[in-house]
């Protein structure tokens, strides 16, 4: 008698809905065991991770601040992935957007430039991110180059360009040679929504992006095209949809969103351009996109949830002296269970009593 994994005749809608919940349930169960082994009270630990951050305004703001870039980038990536275009380089597009937008901030520093500065920065960052994302898209469409590799490699170029600029031409002249630009002027800073807090206009923009993506995918022909090209390329060809055009479009949109997220992060929470402005947002957003099942609302929830684990992890470190590594283990376990449970959408377990023959039949 043994257990086999068997392909379902069709994907299970019920499982698709409850699988994230099963995954979270299993994660919580595993964490309870882990906390118990570490000698920490599991209930208090779960409280520090999940409940406490949701009960005060400050933590809620921080969750929104942390989730903002993740959600914006992930929305763009989801469009790519739905259209079967694999943009892995959102991190680079994020950085290039940050650099391009910062250019205006640096050049207008100390001048009496007016309220046009921030909108111009946002616009330029989006355009730069889109152009940067078009490099791998065009290489794919024209020359058949793998966009996975080219977009990934462009991350390093973006990273080093930023590095060069803040160490050289854009370095704060009064900054003792440290690699950073001077603090941006107020007109070049993303406004705060709550005085004394950190919640900024970027979070509103992220919500608008989510809404726009939901409308695009749910209510427009373009959205339909994107989904058909990804899910059924042959059918899309018969329908006269141009897959190459969609690769270009989705890459451009996702690059623009990543670039926008980049300048918002720099002109918002950070306040100046420096190396290390992204703790891997572009890569974490890939996880967010899939955790949210490439669905705009799902991505919003996934982004907030991942942000919650970061904030909660810090609070658990402070309140209960739970090491940071546990937070990382926790995020890893969560992803593992999500992917594992997802396989149940297309497959199911079956107990097989008389072995070999049936296994072959099923395989």
């Amino acid at each position: 008698m043994h257990l086999v994994l068997e392909k379902r005749a069709e994907r299970s809608g019920t499982i698709a809905l409850v699988s994230p919940l099963i995954a979270i349930g299993l994660t919580l169960l595993t964490m309870v065991i882990l906390f118990a082994i570490l000698g920490k009270n599991p209930l208090l630990a779960l409280d520090a991770y999940f409940i406490a951050p949701l009960t005060d305004g400050y933590s809620l703001q921080e969750i929104a601040v942390k989730a903002t870039p993740l959600v914006m980038i992930a929305i763009g990536l989801s469009l790519c992935y739905l259209a079967n275009a694999w943009n892995i380089g959102a991190e680079g597009q994020f950085l290039i957007g940050a650099v391009a937008g910062s250019w205006i901030a640096v050049k207008t520093q100390g001048t009496d430039a007016g309220a046009w500065v921030l909108p111009a920065m946002l616009l330029l960052a989006a355009v730069a991110g889109a152009l940067y994302a078009l490099i791998p898209a065009i290489c794919k469409v024209r020359f058949g180059a793998s966009e996975i590799l080219t977009s990934l490699m462009l991350v390093y170029i973006a990273d080093l360009s930023l590095d060069y600029l803040v160490r050289g031409p854009w370095r704060d002249p009064h900054g003792f040679n440290f690699p950073t630009t001077a603090e941006f002027d107020p007109v070049a800073t993303v406004p705060l929504l709550i005085e004394g807090g950190r919640l900024h206009l970027g979070s509103i923009i992220a919500l608008l992006v989510v809404a726009a993506a939901a409308i695009l995918l749910g209510r427009t022909i373009k959205g339909f095209e994107i989904r058909v090209v990804g899910a059924a390329p042959r059918a899309a060809r018969f329908g006269g949809f141009n897959a190459n055009q969609l690769v270009i479009l989705t890459f451009a949109v996702s690059g623009a969103l990543a670039g926008l997220a980049g300048i918002i992060e720099v002109a918002g929470p950070v306040g100046h351009l420096q190396p290390g402005i992204s703790p891997g947002y572009g890569f974490t957003a890939i996880i967010v996109a899939f955790l949210g099942r490439l669905n705009p609302v799902g991505i919003l929830i996934a982004g907030l949830f991942l942000a919650l684990t970061f904030i909660g992890g810090e609070q658990a470190q402070i309140a209960m002296k739970i090491p940071l590594d546990v937070t990382k283990v926790f995020q890893g376990i969560l992803l593992f269970y999500v992917l594992a449970c997802d396989s149940l959408i297309l497959y199911r377990f079956r107990l097989v009593f008389s072995n070999r023959q049936v296994t072959r039949g099923a395989g």
């Binding site: 950190r198 420096q274 290390g276 940071l324």
Partner: protein, 358 residues
């Protein structure tokens, strides 16, 4: 069942808050660490100092740390989390926390902040650092004596004044022994990346360097030098166990006494914002034992250390000549003044390289 669980949870929470209340009369002290506490370098030394602090004042204080906090957008939140958790004195232990610390300090005027190696201060934000260039000068003397090839290999982290002044101090010292000494510099562009640091050490040795010096935090370069039978200096912490036949000495960050003094001031209510830049005389850092060198070299190193400690020897004694053959303005009387060292943005003559970004 659900009600029972909720009641249980509520009970536990209450128990937790009662526990917190009884700890409330203890001063809470927080730390933000750049690396993992097990990096065996920079963060590890701060952690050792925290442990010394707990040992000394553990009955009066409660300490908390957040490790592996990147110097990016997350730093401000991490610092604020500590302030919100009731910490009244918070040490942020890396340069990149400067602006985030200042921002949080302005929002929490009743909390005191101590920022390591920066230059921005506030009424409730002090800075502290050490005059490591003094230790580098001693290393330069040793290196010039011990090098057979006359080529030193130097692994830099970032071309910031602290690192540049270390390179200059090294070469100025070495030139007093061997005027033709050469130094090869590789910028790792990281504080802590054992792989990159090891690669840099290999490249330097391949270019003829027989003494490896580092301004990065891991013992990787020491291990490479040890494998290749060369000599090396440790950084931040005692690295002799990674190169028992290799380490000449190491600059040890000894933050313990400073942390204890500042926490005592906080307890006494005498804490005020200041800028501490301590040298060998202040015990802000120390030199590891001088090993793997003949007695005369050891004697020379010890004499130099004593002279620097006593203030009789200044590593940046004028005249100092820049790479363009022009003397550097001498603002501190017979040596460069602190401002010139803190903002050092030039190489001295004899360094056959170009400072990045110049």
């Amino acid at each position: 069942m659900r009600k029972t669980l909720l009641a249980l949870a509520a009970g536990l929470l209450l128990a937790g808050s009662v526990g917190a209340a009884s700890a409330a009369d203890k001063l809470k002290v927080g730390f933000i660490y750049l690396g993992p506490i097990g990096d065996l370098g920079w963060t590890y030394q701060h952690e050792l100092a925290r442990q010394a602090l707990v040992k000394e004042l553990g009955d009066k204080i409660e300490t908390t740390y957040l490790e592996n906090v990147p110097e990016g957008p997350d730093a401000e939140r991490a610092i604020e989390q500590l302030a919100r958790a009731g910490n009244k004195l918070i040490f942020t232990t890396s340069f990149g926390y400067m602006d985030p610390t200042l921002k949080v300090a302005k929002r929490f005027p009743n909390v005191h902040f101590e920022h390591a190696t920066g230059y921005k201060r506030n009424a409730n934000m002090s800075t502290y650092s050490a005059r490591w260039y003094q230790g580098r000068y001693i290393q330069g003397l040793i290196a010039a004596k011990m090098s057979k090839s006359g080529v030193l290999g130097y692994i830099g982290s970032f071309p910031i004044p602290e690192v540049v002044s270390g390179i200059n101090a090294t070469i100025l010292a070495a030139q007093t022994i061997n005027p033709n000494i050469k130094v090869k510099i590789i910028w790792a562009n990281t504080w802590f990346d054992p792989g990159k640091e090891a690669d840099a050490a290999k490249a330097l040795i391949d270019q003829g360097a027989d003494i490896i010096m580092q301004h990065t935090d891991s013992p990787a370069a020491m291990q490479i030098a040890s494998e290749r039978g060369k000599l090396a200096f440790g950084q931040d912490s005692e690295m002799i166990k990674f190169g028992p036949k290799t380490q000449l000495t190491s600059i040890l960050d000894t933050w313990g006494p400073y942390y204890i003094a500042r926490v005592k001031a906080e307890l006494d209510g005498t804490w005020k914002s200041e800028d501490s830049w301590g040298g060998l005389d202040s015990h802000m850092f120390a030199m590891a034992p001088y090993t793997n060198m003949p007695d005369d070299v050891k004697k020379m190193a010890e004499d130099a250390q004593a002279a620097i400690t006593a203030g009789k020897l200044h590593p940046f004694k004028c005249p100092i000549v820049g790479q363009d053959d022009k003397p550097i303005e001498c603002k501190g009387g017979d040596h460069l003044d602190d401002g010139q060292i803190l903002g050092m943005n030039f190489y001295v003559k004899g360094i056959d390289d170009k400072l990045p970004g110049k």
